[in-house]
Symmetry: C2
Subunit: 232 residues, 2 copies
């Protein structure tokens, strides 16, 4: 791609990428706990200490993989959503939901890396939050589009938000979508937790014996969540 200026810089970029690729390959086989720097370096034909020129620790490698995973998921979702005509609001929502599931099912270990138990003693650095926000922001974007054309149903007031929750909704709205009625964000958050709750159950084997395969359960929920957030 972007030819680095010097040969050294190009080689470094390439090797960094190769390390991540090999690490991802190992991740898919043995999970995050089974990621071994020595095994990665062995596979790449170098000695383990050399790998530390590229990643100062195993955790840094994991961080890089986590950011990559968030971005990969975000990109998949964004691309799927972009394929739908922007006026078909509900279809954009559904396409996003299904893209998330497809991504998760083809990369279960990367999914586990970002939505499963945190790696022991590992603290997510700030760098991850931007990447992690792509999916939520994508879905909020759909709601904003729906709202600006007046197509967004307002949440029914049969169960109004409690004061603290309303305040949190206001703060959230202010920072992320000032044009949306705050309660909509609570609905969106409910939808998000529902989606990732289903995926975690599916991928972590908690659904075995109930709705398995869970394609239709997921699809039905995606529709239900579209109703919940007020999409037409």
């Amino acid at each position: 791609m972007n030819a680095g200026r010097t040969a050294r810089e190009r080689a470094r970029a390439e090797l960094t990428q190769e390390i991540k690729d090999e690490a991802r390959r190992q991740l898919a086989v043995s999970g995050a706990g089974g990621l071994s720097l020595r095994a990665v370096s062995r596979e790449l034909g170098m000695v383990s200490s050399a790998l530390y020129r590229y990643f100062p620790s195993r955790d840094e490698l994991l961080t890089a993989l986590i950011i990559d995973a968030y971005n990969s998921l975000g990109e998949s979702a964004e691309q799927a959503e972009a394929k739908v005509p922007s006026t078909k609001l509900r279809d954009r929502w559904l396409a996003t939901c299904h893209a998330i599931r497809s991504w998760a099912r083809t990369r279960p270990h990367e999914y586990a890396l970002i939505y499963g138990s945190p790696v022991p003693g590992y603290q997510a650095p700030m760098d991850t939050v931007a990447a992690a926000s792509r999916v939520p922001l994508l879905m909020i974007g759909i709601l904003r589009d729906a709202n600006t054309v007046g197509a967004l149903d307002m949440p029914k007031d049969d169960r109004p938000l409690t004061p603290i929750l309303a305040a949190q909704a206001d703060a959230l709205a202010e920072s992320v979508a000032p044009d949306l009625p705050p309660p909509v964000l609570i609905s969106a958050l409910t939808a998000l937790t529902q989606i990732f709750g289903m995926l975690s159950f599916e991928l972590f084997g908690q659904l075995v014996g109930s709705v398995d395969p869970s394609d239709e359960f997921y699809a039905a929920s995606a529709e239900r969540m579209a109703d919940l957030v007020g999409l037409p």
Copy 2:
């Protein structure tokens, strides 16, 4: 408690328990990945190889902890639910939901053990499913009680189940609650995934910066889920 017949058997039972206790203590500090047999044995004043007389491998120890965790969660939920008068159906549901969250928040690492990413290369044995079923069965029990007294609202038919999903619901009903209308079980499953989706987001740090603390968000969802499953 139950004095084992011989001194040896009693000592064995006690040591087994001590090992699990110490392992749980370490789990709470460093997570599942940080569980070290050597550290456990060191803390117990024995040599690491001796520990293998009690648990043939690290994974077996983890399995024991997983089963214990499921049972601990199940028991907490059952006790909280039992405290509510059995006619107050909605309160029984809410008490169960909140007991689950309390348990999870006081033992985040044990929660991660059972509802987080599966341990790499670890396959849950059959022994776990009975323990894992306690919470779902408890909630279904509330719905059955509500149904027998005719207090359970049927799911609205504005979005009827697709054929495959309906068949899965039938199968599920037959195996676990023949007296309930099958669609209710789909709603219950939705509620379950919602609850554990929220908890995973909360405990795994995905909610930081949105609804944090999430007490009210959770409480509101518990109510909403009670509505969803048709509780009065």
